[in-house]
Amino acid sequence: MNLRVPSIKMFDASEISTLKELFDYVIPATLNNGMPGASFLFDFEVNFSASDVLLFKKVLTQISDFSKTKYEKEYVKLSIIDKQIILKTLKQKSNRSFNELAFGIMRHYYTNNTILEAIGVKSRPPFPDGNSILEGDMLLFEQVYEKGQIYRD
């Protein structure tokens, strides 16, 4: 696996595999409109912050603990169905960690150029041409004007 994410070097192959599954659990791929799952971020040089890395480590530990407690196995050795059960357990029992993780993943996902293009954001930073917006019908305000003064002197 050719990972190009610098901060991902903080994780071993097994941890990266788990993180990818976790990312896709938060934002899965869809077939109908071609949106990739969040694990696609691993194909980019996303610079996860130090606090992101700490959070990922913490969640990996929690996943490992849940897995050993329930199945007496490492997470990576579980079946797909059992893995899903563990991730669901994480979401239910470690709600705060899961939400922090989900928000962190979304921050990277929804600021990725490929994703912005896929969801139809035509104008993206640095916004070279700005955005064209309908001027709007100013006659809408005639009704208000005709009602007359509403402020108190």
Partner: protein, 537 residues
């Protein structure tokens, strides 16, 4: 750290380079007075604003967060707002909070200046709308304000640039207001829609609230400050003032500050003007204790820091089936309604509020708020739910007038300090029953207009946590020294050469963004200083 440096004395020392400090500096720059401004932040560089980079939205959660407690930049000081339902929002730089403000720029109403007379609540201001009107007009001209004449909620306002485009979003909600026969009007926007005073027009980039790299949003770093510099005003950045000093008669003599290197420095001045916001100003005054001012400077009334008003903000959102391109355009400027601004006792509360139509969120904020509000799931269905919201929402802020209450206050925290060891401000604030009733009413009315406009779904909640931008009332003006901190000219009752020009001096809050008013007050007060000072002092 212990070295004390004494630069040459100046005639006027202005503390704070934000909205009011900039207006004051420019207005005084037409005199022969030597003027120095000290600012704890630095100069911002528009080319480095978040929206020049693809990941701009993420920076709203870090170094461009609205809360100094999250941002934690060297220019920031911590604010203990843990016991307040509303967190304090600000930005510390040349330009102050105008760097991040939305540019929504309405004025107070004439009735706001006489709430006691008209409605029997709070107090009347010692000045009127008519007194301030020429300064509102001048400030609009200096800042560059867009809008349209004929608003029935105000006395005539002229000289506006063409309004910000309504967009599909504005037309949609406008039709909703018309169905209900409620007031609405294009926002007064401190955003230029035509080239103006060497600045280029708005091209609807959208992310106004993380700084405008186009220079179309009228933050004071690009409006007042360049002109003040041209006229000779000096500005020192990264200088945090710790104390305003006094002589044996109790009159201001200057200020101690920490420069960028942490050196304690003394700046002598003949007039001191404080422009540090409704939180920063009382913090500085309370920290400026002396034998003659044992409870803090200018505090013989005991009102420094009291009567804090924050404008509890409600949020309403409507979801529409049609794509409204709602993520495009100036985030905080579209339409405002003041249908419920003036008092109607039948509503169950005193005073009123503004309904402030907002554009929709960008992609990241759509996702984050969608998940937080359980409108977008993680896992299956995530993309479909996102698609149903992105570009299809209309937001609305309900800006509730907060009445002054003594218990709502800014004090000095006993433990928390900033990086220079200066005590942090502590916010002691609760929503009054009047504000709660008004907020609930406003949220219900917001949902009503969203439905009238065709929303298929609505949400409403408030007060929204980190929306305490509008910091008012903590050094109020008045004619009675027992019941106010400064007189009708912003001059401290206790210290004749000390002036306060920011929104601390507000007697009431109105139900609108205060930037236009606080800048106009700064111009008005400094006109008084000019009229009473000839040449060098």
């Amino acid at each position: 750290m212990n070295k004390i440096i004494n630069p040459p004395p100046v005639d006027v020392l202005i503390i704070g380079a934000g909205a009011s400090g900039a207006a004051a500096a420019w207005n005084l720059s037409s005199t022969n007075l030597s003027i120095l401004c000290l600012e704890q932040g630095g100069h911002v560089k528009p080319e480095e604003y978040p929206s020049t980079r693809i990941g701009w939205e993420a920076r709203k959660y870090s170094d461009y967060n609205v809360s100094p407690n999250i941002r934690k930049l060297p220019s920031d000081y911590p604010i203990n707002d843990s016991e307040s339902p509303i967190g304090i929002a600000n930005f510390n730089a040349v330009g102050g909070s105008t760097i991040l403000f939305s540019g929504h720029f309405p004025r107070l109403h004439p009735s706001d200046f006489k709430t006691k007379t008209l409605d029997g609540v709070a107090d009347d201001w010692p000045i009127s709308y008519a007194k301030l009107e020429p300064y509102y007009n001048l400030n609009d001209k200096m800042m560059g304000v867009s809008g349209i004449e004929g608003d029935t909620a105000y006395p005539p306002i002229k000289g506006l640039l063409p309004p910000i485009p309504l967009g599909k979003l504005g037309e949609t909600i406008g039709n909703g207001f018309n169905k209900l026969n409620w007031h609405m009007w294009p926002s007064y926007s401190a955003i230029i829609t035509r080239p103006y005073m060497n600045r280029d027009k708005c091209v609807n980039l959208g992310p106004c609230n993380t700084g405008c790299p186009q220079g179309a949003k009228s933050s004071v770093d690009i409006t007042y400050w360049p002109l003040a510099f041209q006229a000779g005003v000096k500005l020192k950045t990264h200088c945090r003032v710790s104390e305003v000093t006094v002589d044996e008669k109790g009159q201001a003599t200057g200020a101690f500050y920490f420069d960028e290197g942490g050196n304690k420095t003394y700046q002598e001045a003949k007039i001191v003007i404080v422009a540090c916001s409704g939180v920063g100003t009382p913090r500085l005054l309370l920290n400026s204790k002396s034998r003659l001012h044992p409870e803090g400077l200018a505090n013989s009334s005991g009102l420094v820091g009291k009567n804090l008003m924050l404008h509890p903000l409600g949020y309403v959102e409507g979801v529409f089936d049609e794509d409204l391109d709602s993520a495009l355009g100036p985030q905080g400027c579209c339409i405002q309604s003041q249908e419920f601004y003036e008092t109607d006792k039948n509503r169950g509360f005193d005073r009123g509020f503004t309904m402030h139509v907002l554009r929709g969120n960008g992609p990241l904020e759509t996702a984050l708020s969608g998940v937080a509000l359980r409108r977008i799931p993680t896992g299956d269905g995530h993309h479909e739910a996102f698609e149903s919201l992105y570009g299809k929402t209309i937001g609305m802020g309900i800006i509730v007038e907060d009445l002054p209450e003594l218990a709502n206050s800014v004090t000095l925290d006993e433990k928390m300090t900033d990086s220079n060891g200066i005590p942090a401000p502590k916010i002691n604030y609760r929503l009054s029953e009047n504000s709660k009733r008004m907020l609930a009413f406003g949220l219900a009315k917001g949902k009503e207009v969203m439905k009238a406009a065709g929303a298929s779904d609505t949400i409403a909640f408030g007060p929204v946590r980190n929306t305490g931008w509008h910091l008012m009332g903590t050094a109020r003006m008045g004619k009675d020294p027992m019941n106010s901190v400064v007189n009708e000219y912003g001059q401290a009752h206790d210290v004749k050469n000390l002036y306060i020009v920011d929104s601390s001096v507000f007697v009431t809050s109105g139900g609108v963004n205060p930037a236009s008013t606080l800048q106009s007050i700064a111009l008005y007060i400094t006109d008084h200083i000019k009229a009473n000072t000839t040449g060098h002092i």
